[in-house]
């Protein structure tokens, strides 16, 4: 892997649960993120998938410093940004920007598009001289595929996909090196989603961006990511390249997740093997001992309740190598093929 631009180690975020208003006392904690390690190379896309409540959005917020971690470090080019404040933090923020999920609430309805995209320059005036900002905003609109003449319009005059482009333009304004995108296309219609995914792909190569792409849609994540991390209940359970994760998953949760994705191919429905998990995700206030997936896992044995499985290459695969030899936090990791081979000849052209 290339030299990491962002390196996260043992990141933890616990939200204390308190009782009482004036005299507060702690009555437990929501363990939203519970020890996450990530590495992001320059110009690379790291996909993070997981179901709601797995902590992926909290990770995103900590990466852009919207939440302070309870413990752990986030190193940007070797410097731990979780301890920064004031001027130094502001300088780092320029380089790590965020694109939000909901195109309807992420743009201030009282501001024009020009003001929204130009705001980064108001906050970081050193980036662009005042007289130059309008021109830059027009260029950004053009770059994300919107007509620069719309600079004086308000967000409600645009469709969801167009608003997401505006959000992306705002994220690009300071020329960041890292963009953290939290479910950037999940609120969009299928046909518009493809436009925005393509746009993000193109911007990545044009501006040499590194993406942390967070989503629950496994197909979109595979499409855009170089490497993928699968999160469950606050931890990464399996991580590897897209081929390693999708074609050679070894963690039972990843396998269940992949097997549950509906595939747009009616021919696949008869011979398709589905792993239907029982029950619901446990509450993050009350995480099971040992392996946190064991309460829903069909392979769980006594060892799983006692020992926390480490995120490492399982011993069974380490010697043999090959695509199954990637980090997987399971005591009983085994390879299983769950994604049906598509017959549908989609794709461009």
């Amino acid at each position: 892997m290339t030299e990491p631009i962002l390196e996260v180690s043992d990141l933890v975020k616990h939200y204390p649960l308190t009782r009482g208003t004036v005299f507060r006392k702690q009555a437990g904690a929501v363990r939203a993120v519970d020890g996450v390690d990530l590495r992001l190379g320059r110009g690379e896309t790291l996909g993070i998938v997981g179901e709601s409540g797995c902590g992926k959005s909290t990770v995103a917020k900590m990466l852009v410093n919207l939440e302070r971690p309870t413990a752990g470090s986030i190193r940007y080019k070797g410097e731990d940004i979780t301890r920064l404040s004031g001027r130094a933090l502001k300088a780092v923020r320029r380089n790590i920007q965020m694109v939000f999920q909901d195109p309807y609430t992420s743009l201030n309805p009282r501001m024009t598009v020009g003001d929204i995209i130009g705001e980064p320059y108001d906050i970081h005036p050193e980036v662009a001289p005042k007289g130059d900002r309008r021109r830059k905003v027009r260029e950004l609109l053009d770059v994300v595929g919107l007509n620069p003449e719309y600079i004086n319009r308000y967000p409600h005059q645009f469709s969801g996909g167009q608003r997401q482009r505006i959000g992306i333009a705002r994220g690009l304004a300071l020329r960041p090196e890292v963009i953290v995108a939290d479910e950037p296309v999940s609120a969009l219609d299928v046909s518009v989603q493809a436009q925005v995914v393509n746009l993000m792909d193109r911007l990545q190569s044009e501006f040499d961006l590194a993406y942390v792409f967070i989503a629950h849609d496994l197909s979109v994540v595979r499409h855009i990511s170089d490497r993928v991390g699968v999160m469950y209940l606050g931890r990464i359970v399996e991580t590897g390249t897209d081929t390693e994760i999708y074609d050679h998953p070894t963690h039972p949760y990843t396998q269940a997740l992949l097997s549950a994705v509906p595939v747009p191919d009616p021919g696949a429905r008869e011979h398709r093997e589905r792993i239907i998990l029982s029950g619901d995700v446990p509450s993050p206030t009350d995480i099971p001992s040992g392996c946190r997936f064991r309460t829903r896992c069909w392979k769980a044995r006594e060892r799983c309740a006692l020992e926390v499985p480490a995120l490492a290459v399982p011993a069974t695969f380490a010697a043999a190598g090959g695509p199954a030899a990637h980090d997987s936090a399971c005591h009983f990791a085994e390879e299983r093929h769950v994604v049906p081979e598509g017959r549908h000849g989609g794709g461009p052209g």
Binding site: S106, H124, V143
Partner: protein, 325 residues
Amino acid sequence: MPNQYHEAERAIAGTGMGGTMDLGVDEAETLGKRPGPDGGGPQEPPRSLWSDAWRDLRRNPVFIVSALVICFLVLISLWPSAIASGSPLTCDLSKAQQGSQSGHPFGFDGQGCDVYTRTVYGARTSVAVGVLATLGVTVLGSVLGALAGFFGGVWDSVLSRITDVFFAIPVVLGGLVLLSVITSNTIWPVIGFIVLLGWPQISRIARGAVITAKQNDYVQAARALGASHSRLVLRHIAPNAVAPVIVVATIALGTYIALEATLSYLGVGLKPPSVSWGIDISAASPYIRNAPHALLWPSGALAITVLAFIMLGDAVRDALDPKLR
């Protein structure tokens, strides 16, 4: 770092970028044909919550009537002599309790003062108290409420308890106790009292509105850019939180006018020789059998004024409420 930045700079300004992306051009073309991407017909001007609300209000008869009444009130409180030639303090005991007569359409009160002139001049007190008290309440209440909503935590807990305490004070009783020790016969003690008891109402509204606005992603987006607290509040939160405050303040203005009259009626607000509808109502009530007109006109003026502000607030609320759209 500066190097990378300039590289990216050149990339974006470079020629390969401009209009050559398929996607960009396609969409721009589609948009070009349909100037209102979401909204409808061509040449649709940019619209905001406020211009939408204004469009609604202009068609609402309740708004038009109450706004006209309020305009009239403001005008006569600024220039009462324009429609009432005499002085409200010139009284002639010999005409006491007399009815309507030429030049004195509303008749005379128990002291022989012209009811018409006094009613016109009374508007000045009411409007002044209402407007100034509302200004004070709104400024104090929204600043404290916004701070509590924005910073939360201890600030919020403390402020919430304080507002609870103030809510527990009965207004009239509080007025009787606090104002009876004050001797100054100006409108300021009354305004001060209203501000003191009125701000918690606004601060609650402001706090709620700020908390709602704060949760929007665009506030998070601005924070992620490194925006300062003042920028977040002034540019992103306040403009999206003022609507409910304005509505409540408008309605409250009407009730403050009524409160001033009540306090003056009870003898702790303004006292003669000040001119106020409350004083006149108080003075006229013993003679209600002999001279009902002396009570009728100031009370009627008071009722219409209070009603006008409350209806205006209602109309504004309806126009600003996105759920009704």
